[in-house]
Amino acid sequence: MISNDDIGPETRLELYRLQIEIRDCEKRAYDLFLQNLIKGTSHLSLGQEAIAAGFGVAMKKGDKSFCTYRGHAHTLARGVPMEGVLGELMLRDIGLMRGKGGSMHLTSVEHGVMGSYAIIGAHLCIACGSAWRAQYLGDKDVTVCFFGDGTTNIGAFHEALNFAVIWKLPVVFVCENNLYMEYTPISEVTAVPHPAADRASAYGLPRILIDGNDADIVYRTAQEAIEKARTGGGPSLIECLTYRHSGHSRADPGKYRPPGELEKWMERDPIKIYKQRLKEFGVTEEQMKTLDEASMRKVEDATALCKASPSAPEELLTADVYADGGWAWRN
């Protein structure tokens, strides 16, 4: 059993709890669309839980998250109740946006989740704006923006990184490199081996490349970058190496993967790694089991609530097009 623990038992159990809950919730999402209870699309973070969890724990109340369509994990990691997430996937009234946004646009302002964006690139620029506001008003919150490897090849990535640096904005850009865009390997369409890390220097930023499947490493890196941003040190760009266990979306069986690749990464499953880690720090099987069971209960309760939830009333169709709540484009 290792001593001198820089992270500490509470934090570690929190990192474990979040990873487990994300894992269980994503698995449930998968089951639900096999049961045809999730219409539309859905993008799981199975295998990438350590990143959402590591940042979720490192972020403080008031900090802002900007996510992608693959944002269930990052939303849950900010403390959003599962029924809000699963309910939105199921397009029910109980969902975070009562079914109006759908799985790709999860938003919970009260938890600092400032939206999930489904058109690649834009939200990196939008995150700059949130950070600019904090800088201008002297607010102390930090903005964290999550995106994938494929996103580094679109123009908005370049504009956002340059902009954040020259204005020294309190924003952290987190690239989850899971090796693929939808079906195409990132290596086939990118001029450098590490799509984010190898480009940091183009913005005068240090190269940060970490193991995204080790929640401790993610947590430490997140803390550092967030602290830097909070204290006026400006933005960071972090590339986290990871892998998605499932397909890109519900529609994707993942046939394009070379044989053995998934198996290799299963060895590096973040949950597996973290269970081992907890053992090393003296956490017992029983302690873990308690958290595992609590997580499953949450999933079951959330599922029940969602299944019981009606779909939203029809009046919502034309609500909130404008900030006055309505949709009137004429008098």
Binding site: K39, L91, G99, K100, G101, G150, G155, S311
Partner: protein, 329 residues
């Protein structure tokens, strides 16, 4: 004569043209090895090889820029923009570069290319993956714009678009990919700028596009069966060039115009046609021109709300009956 899905018709149309002209090349995201996210390009990579069917990064501006530069210098590229909503990230090429090139250079350069894209709603993808942007492209001088409603039209209009010497926006409807239809064997070549009368009628003219064509036809059946109204249904097919002859002739006959549009209300494609008819066919009209569109809102993800937003047969019927009853004409 074989039954083909709309999806397979895309493959058939592209194949036909790539076979006859080696200057036809095809690029886009996940279109080659993976066969496209809508599986509408399956087999092309295997058939035409890595030099003619190329996967790209997530770089829509580079995709359209590359297509344009290649078209200017001798190739006939087909570029896929996966979802039509993404036209907004490369709109500079669609609105400012490709369509103005021939004019600005006084005809020195032309831009023979096709942008094919998955347009439209009905699949619960929400506000950023369900838009009908045919009107975004119709309003740009120098572009041509088509939106087929059936497999046979997909093949023929695809061939015509690829052979055309101008930039052509080819709107495929996401929700139609799995629909089937008869497609004759052998080469198929259709003509841009031609509308099709799918159901002749004498009491009113219904103009529709893409997925709305099927709903207009359903509505016409109900109108005939339950209301004794004999509606003429015209599949506009091509917004630019626009077949105003067929449209004006139909109105001269029926005296009543209805449009069924999936795009949101303001400046939907029917607005232009309504304005043309209210000018050139004013004295042929026996009653108001009525546009039946998606309300002027972003699209919701929830199935029941999305269904509520898009025009459907009952709503079309109700509007037409109410209008024709109200007409003193």
């Amino acid at each position: 004569m074989a039954e083909l899905s709309y999806r397979d018709a895309v493959i058939r149309g592209i194949s036909q043209e790539m076979e006859r002209d080696k200057n036809v090349v095809f690029l886009g995201e996940d279109i080659a090895k993976a066969g496209g996210v809508f599986k509408a390009t399956v087999g092309l990579y295997e058939k035409f090889g890595t030099l003619r069917v190329r996967d790209t990064p997530i770089s829509e501006q580079a995709i359209l820029g590359a297509a344009m530069g290649a078209a200017m210098t001798g190739l006939r590229p087909i570029a896929e923009i996966m979802f039509s909503d993404f036209a907004a990230v490369c709109f500079d090429f669609i609105a400012n570069e490709m369509p103005k090139l021939a004019y600005m250079t006084n005809g020195q350069v032309s831009c023979p290319l096709v942008i094919r894209t998955g347009n439209g709603a009905g699949v619960r993808f929400g506000a950023q993956h369900s838009q009908s942007i045919e009107n975004w492209t119709m309003m740009i001088p120098g572009l041509k714009v088509v939106a087929p409603s059936s497999p046979v039209d997909v093949v023929g209009l695809m061939a015509a678009a690829i052979r055309d010497n101008n930039p052509v926006m080819f709107h495929e409807h996401k929700a139609l990919y799995s629909t089937k239809g008869e497609v004759p064997d052998g080469e198929i070549l259709d003509t841009l700028g031609t509308a099709k009368i799918l159901r002749p009628g004498k009491d009113c003219t219904i103009l529709a596009l893409a997925m709305m064509v099927h709903r207009a036809l359903d509505a016409a059946e109900i109108l005939a069966r339950e209301h004794g109204i004999d509606a003429e249904v015209v599949d506009v097919r091509s917004l630019v060039p626009l077949d105003t002859q067929t449209i004006l002739a139909s109105i001269a006959k029926t005296g009543h115009l209805f449009t069924v549009e999936e795009n949101p209300r303001l400046l939907g494609w029917g607005a232009e046609i309504a304005s043309i008819v209210a000018d050139e066919a004013f004295w042929d009209l026996d009653g108001p021109i009525v546009r039946i569109t998606t309300p002027h809102i972003p699209l919701p993800a929830a199935d029941h709300l999305e269904d509520l937003a898009l025009p459907n047969a009952p709503r079309i019927v109700e509007r037409i009956v109410r209008t024709l009853n109200g007409s003193r004409g």
